[in-house]
């Protein structure tokens, strides 16, 4: 990694940390469990690193196998994480929404 790339990466990290702090401090305790589940699914983005390992040019078989396991676990997190988050968020209803449902 050359110094210019490193510095750019550190900038991205610092800005993402700042933004993350601002955005996440506004999440109410009501939604902390879905939040954890959602950030988990989002960090399943490491899937794209796993995909490269599992099938890209220039990687030997052992790397492909490690990549396969990584793709599997990351996909579980993405699919399971988004699915469960949505299932949870669907349950949070306001009083009015409930009344309409009852009708």
């Amino acid at each position: 990694m050359n110094p210019a790339v490193l510095i750019a990466s550190v900038y991205v990290f610092a800005l993402a940390a700042f933004l993350g702090y601002q955005v996440i401090s506004r999440v109410p305790p009501l939604l902390h469990t879905p939040l954890m589940s959602a950030t988990n699914a989002i960090s399943g983005i490491s899937l794209i690193g796993s995909l490269v390992l599992a099938g890209a040019k220039g990687y030997p078989l052992p790397a492909h196998i490690l990549g396969f396991v990584a793709v599997t676990t990351a996909t579980i997190n993405v699919v399971g994480g988004f699915g469960l988050t949505d299932r949870m968020l669907k349950m949070f209803k306001s009083r009015n929404a409930k009344k309409e449902e009852a009708k």
């Binding site: 988990n40 960090s43 983005i45 796993s50 599992a54």
Partner: protein, 459 residues
């Protein structure tokens, strides 16, 4: 760079922006679902972009992994019950961290020789953090599931042993950064990190799980961010950092809600000192009959339910909602007071009550409900103990001194639903039970609540 690479980078940028919008949506239940759809779109775009732009030549492992992962993930999304949410989340921390760790090992196997010192540093950090989070999360999952005993596992000199393991791990890490050819050191670090993860979580009791869950969340995210540094991939850095900071913020909030520091949770071993926790409270606990309790509730103006983890273990969420609806039909104002550390993970109790069809507008945070408690006629404590223990406020020598509580003892009267006369989960004596305004209703929370509902109907 050719056209497909530009396309791939564009999808990464779009994914990063959509992820941030998704978390912004989480600030309100009304916008949260829409936000998650955006995140899903971003994820999909990034995956398609990678498959097109990353010079993929062998598709077998990729398709097999995606298919297997999707099936298991979908199965989890559909079948995991809400009460098992903490275990599921711990397991997904383990999976996420394992993926990050494996990518690191793979990169080391392939490119280890030609890496710069900085990249090696990021790689070592990624693998170290990823591995210890993997085993740590598996232990947490085992404890939450009840496979491993929930009590803290402790032995003499534990902190010294852990410190030695930690130093060994960091030593290997430092050595690896300086000497890239030493692959044996790299694999030793990997092994030690796995062991350290186990040692880190076994001394922690179930009651401290909300902190541990948040902390592991943070580690898993930071491991992903380190992967981004190794691969020079910005969307990984952004998504990993968001996850890492979210976990960190939650850890701090959970620690504040217990008035403890993170080091105290990790190295304090809360459960071990119970034997010394002498209490000077005494007196008699006043028992109340079902009919009297029902009468009190039915003729009250304001009722506040304070649920704890006991509610979840008794599966009494629906029973409490039914009782609340009967009371509301009689014109009683019903609210629920949720302590930040009620349950086994942040926000756990809110999800359980939402599942039982309690509207979120009835769920109140500790700070919101405390000023209202003096004008509350009946506070009903269900399976909660420490979070309503007035000792935390009044007794500076108490083990939980300074922990913010839901001040039910300020309410006009309190009914405590409790399994038996014994001490609660943490083993601390609770003076609330001996106060004149308090009456105890013994028995299983679910059947007590069902009987109360029947009795209220006949009032």
């Amino acid at each position: 760079m050719n056209l497909t690479s530009y396309f791939m980078e564009a999808t990464y940028l779009i994914a990063s922006i959509l992820f941030i919008f998704a978390l912004k949506g989480m600030s309100h239940p009304e916008t949260a679902r829409r936000g998650m759809f955006m995140a899903e779109g971003g994820m999909f775009a990034a995956i398609v972009g990678t498959l097109i732009g990353a010079h993929i030549i062998s598709w077998v492992w990729i398709i097999a992994g995606l298919a297997l992962g999707s099936v298991i993930g979908a199965w989890m999304a559909i079948w995991v019950p809400m009460t098992a949410m903490p275990q599921r989340t711990a397991l997904s921390h383990a999976f996420g961290a394992l993926a990050a760790s494996l990518v690191g090992i793979g990169e080391f196997v392939v490119h280890g020789a030609e890496m710069s010192a900085v990249t090696r540093g990021a790689l070592g950090f990624e693998v170290m953090l990823g591995s210890l989070t993997t085993t740590g999360s598996l232990i947490a999952c085992g404890k939450l599931q009840g496979v491993i005993h929930g009590k803290p596992i402790q032995f003499r000199g534990q902190n010294f042993v852990n410190l030695a393991i930690f130093l060994g791990m960091v030593g290997c890490f430092a050595f690896f950064c300086i000497h890239p050819e030493a692959s044996a050191v790299f694999y030793s670090m990997l092994g030690i990190a796995f062991v350290f993860g186990v040692m880190l979580v076994i001394p922690i009791g179930s009651a401290d799980m909300p902190v541990v869950m948040s902390l592991l969340n943070s580690y898993a995210g930071l491991a992903s961010a380190a992967t981004g540094f190794v691969l020079g991939n910005n969307v990984l850095i952004i998504a990993g950092t968001l996850d890492g900071f979210s976990g960190f913020i939650l850890s701090v909030l959970m620690c504040k809600a217990m008035n403890r520091s993170i080091t105290n949770v990790l190295f304090g071993g809360f459960g071990a000192v119970i034997a010394e926790a002498t209490s000077n409270v005494g007196g008699v606990m006043r028992e109340i009959s079902l009919d009297d309790a029902a009468m009190q509730l039915a003729f009250a103006n304001r009722v506040v339910f304070v649920p704890g983890y006991g509610l979840a273990t008794a599966q009494a969420q629906h029973a409490v909602r039914e009782l609340a609806e009967l009371l509301e039909a009689r014109g009683v104002t019903v609210k629920y007071a949720i302590h930040p550390v009620a349950g086994r993970m942040p926000g756990h109790m809110n999800v359980l009550l939402a599942e039982a069809n309690v509207p979120y507008s009835s769920l109140y945070e500790m700070e919101q409900i405390n000023p209202e408690l003096p004008s509350t006629d009946v506070a009903v404590v269900i399976g909660a103990n420490d979070v309503v223990n007035p000792d935390a406020r009044d007794n500076p020598n108490s083990l939980i001194a300074g922990m913010p509580i839901i001040e039910v003892d300020r309410a006009k009267s309190v009914i405590v639903l409790k399994r038996g006369q014994g001490r609660g989960f943490s083993g601390l004596e609770n003076p609330l039970f001996f106060k004149p305004c308090t009456s105890m209703l013994y028995g299983d929370a679910k059947s007590s609540l069902n009987h109360l509902a029947q009795a209220v109907q006949h009032v």
